[in-house]
Amino acid sequence: MKTQTKKINSRGQIGETLTWIVATIIIVVMLIFFILGSSLLSGTKNVGDTFRQSLTSAQVVQGTDLFLKKSLFTYTSIGSDTNKIILDKKLSKMADAGQFNLDYNSTKIEILTRYAKR
């Protein structure tokens, strides 16, 4: 008696399943990538001293530096030349150390121009 055995060809199913597994992995990886991106973007909610016009802009809108201007006004109003030189050296040192938000030399010229005559 002959028995016929039918072979079920499941190559198509396996191929289809593999495609879906790879697709799922890609989707999950992309989702993880985007979730990490959102958490990085939420870091832009830190409102610091400087204001950036857009997320990608490297430029910064400079504000004012009250402390530098107060010091420069003191420099302008000092009578003694010796003290003036010492103070100028000290302020230059502080400027080199990055302690001011504005450019030291240009702000100094601005303050001297404005207040030296008075």
Binding site: E16, S42, S80, N83, L87, K90
Partner: protein, 174 residues
């Protein structure tokens, strides 16, 4: 011939499972972004430091309540500093900690290392958060340290160092 659609039904279920995964991902992304509050403490500490600086030295004039013409600092200014400089650190709730700390040091001369007068107000425990070197500083207080030179009518120059610290971690972080 019967068309076997069992595979199709399985695919449909799987397709909706993918949609659910994507939807969950989008919801997580949205919540992560919109759920995090704005952190304004750095600006706030800067404004606090500016406020104190203007109180001490404004328009080229030192606050007359701070120091006499012969260079003697008035204790009354330290005792009533908050009133003189229109500051109020009081908080709601009995067990709520004050979220601010202020420290002002005065040095006589341009290069003097020793402070001749100092004022401190607020929660001193916050000072230790400044200068801590860790990767995630969001749960630490935000500090602003600024300094300037002021001149008295007697031509004496003083160096003023202001440290302003703002905590408020719950209102500004997740």
């Amino acid at each position: 011939m019967k068309i076997n659609k069992k595979g199709d039904k399985l695919l449909s279920i799987y397709w909706f499972a993918i949609l659910v995964i994507v939807a969950t991902g989008v919801v997580i992304m949205v919540n992560v972004y919109y759920g995090s509050p704005y952190d304004v403490r750095q600006v706030e500490s800067g404004i606090l430091a500016n406020h104190v600086a203007n109180c001490i030295y404004f328009g080229g004039e030192v606050n007359p309540s701070l120091i006499s013409s012969n260079g003697i600092f008035k204790e009354d200014f330290r005792d009533h500093f908050m009133n003189y400089c229109t500051l109020n650190f009081s908080v709601e709730g009995e067990f709520t900690q004050i979220p601010y700390y202020l420290e002002i040091n005065f040095f006589k001369g341009i290069d003097s290392p020793t402070s001749v007068f100092n004022i401190s107000e607020g929660n001193q425990n916050l000072k230790s958060d400044c200068g801590v070197d860790v990767q995630d500083k969001s749960k630490l207080s935000k500090c602003t340290s600024n300094s300037f030179f002021m001149k008295l009518n007697s031509n004496d120059v003083y160096f003023v160092k202001i440290l302003a610290v703002v905590s408020k971690v719950n209102e500004n972080t997740n």
